[in-house]
Amino acid sequence: MAKEYETVIGLEVHVELATKTKIFCGCSTAFGGAPNTHTCPVCTGMPGSLPVLNKKVLEYAVAVGLATNCDITRYSKFDRKNYFYPDNPQNYQISQLYLPICRNGHVDIDTAGGKKQIRIHEIHMEEDAGKLIHDEWNDTSLVDYNRSGVPLIEIVSEPDMRSADEVIAYLEKLRMTIQYLGASDCKLNEGSMRADVNLSVREVGSQKLGTRTEMKNINSFKAIQHAIEGERQRQIEELEEGREVIQETRRWDDNKESSRPMRSKEDAQDYRYFPDPDLTPIVISDEFLAKIKSQEPEMQDAKIARYQKEFDLPEYDAQIITSVKKMADFFEDTVALGANPKKVSNWLMGETMRLQKEKGMDQDQIPFSPENLASLIALTEDGSINSSVAKEVFEQVFADDVDPKQYVEEHGLKSMNDEGALRGIVEEKIAANPKAVEDYRGGKKKAIGAIVGQVMKETKGKADPGTVNKLIKEILG
């Protein structure tokens, strides 16, 4: 009989913090600088340089810890993790081993079987490494230290996940929480959120953990799904064929859809951690904690509840709008200008998301102002423009953030709902369509559609269809 296996997964998630400067020096963290322009003696590990902690890094780390129900370590410090690698100019990475800033947290995720708690072992602060580019032509590697010293937090979960779906739900939860805190934009594809997956398999019912492997280099939810399924299968095959799973780090190759060994895992003692003597310990006061707590913004769950209660928005709308913090902020700003909440939600979930997708933009890229969306909604509500014209105007608002009122006037798009002006055109089209009139009088009520269509065409879409319908029926008796 075939054995049944259970997958046991823990995650190490690295998140790049949204600070202006690096963790221990005043170099910029901005993307896209020419190689090595954002460097100084501190982030290139020059002897005698003195690292000093960026206060914002500590504030973000504590904010994430509080939002994920962690205990904040009141006396925390940095340690040196020693290893030789060209992307690490100091020959050690400054990290936290002994007294990480946050411990013993958890987040709740939604699974097919209901709510599930995923425990967080710890969150620590550390610095990123430089970037290595392989020079194919000369068979050498090139190093750019602009990323060296960029602040990261590493969120280490307990091995509480059992499937790819749970892993993705956990990552989504972290991403949403951290985005709401403003601590990072958490973009997997751009590397500001990176997940290392620790995975082992064991027979169902066994309490003992199997030997785990660690997979790095997974940069999309789809890749995570594939990597987990692939590695589970690989480990089961090893066991079924009587071999052992070797503890090692494997690199996931999304193009080949397989993982290969990267290096056998060093033991923690090989890193020869010791306290960094250049950095002073961190003592967290009650005041500091209270301040960070008071700055915590309204999180997604609270917003979903409030949008339903305060704005009478359907739960579905509230969930979609709040799934991107910038979208939620934009929604609230537009509603604050007096726009109808459901209408704002419709424009965001409909045309805005459609155009973002069409143009390959992220959902946090909203290229127009709340003022102009509010103004467009006002024009539709007072009958100044009809819905098809509104869509046309919206495309311009999306493309160039135009002022809808001005645009409508300049292009003569105002609705013709003046019955006097429309009556002449309607009479003309009735006279030109005796067949439709005959059918209508014969009981085919839909036949007047042809006349409405011709009036719309004549007025270049500006006539109000309701008014046109009403006039036709009135004239035909």
Partner: protein, 97 residues
């Protein structure tokens, strides 16, 4: 002289430290390391229960800086240390993560 460091350990420590030692250097290093371990054994005789591990030698905490860019383009000084360079980057032996 209770501690004896094996050849394997000496080899392994050498790899971690990226040091290639001659036979004589290795023997000297082995003696030094053994003495250090003996000294640690001596320290271990002390009763330190209830003593917090020291994490810093000065009684100074919470030295922070504000999140403001204070450094400009440092590439000229940084690259001045490069034994070999290309397009403002350090050339190193082929390294694949």
């Amino acid at each position: 002289m209770a501690n004896v460091i094996s050849d394997e350990t000496m080899e392994y420590v050498g790899i971690l430290a990226k040091l290639e030692l001659t036979g004589e250097e290795k023997e000297n290093a082995r003696k030094d390391l053994e003495k250090m371990l003996d000294y640690v054994d001596k320290l271990n005789e002390l009763d330190v229960s209830g003593v917090e591990p020291m994490s810093h030698i000065f009684p100074v905490n919470n030295v922070f800086r504000e999140d403001e860019v204070t450094n400009g383009d440092g590439s000229k000084d940084t690259m001045a240390n490069a034994p070999a360079q290309k397009d403002n980057q350090f050339i190193v032996p082929k390294t694949i993560g």
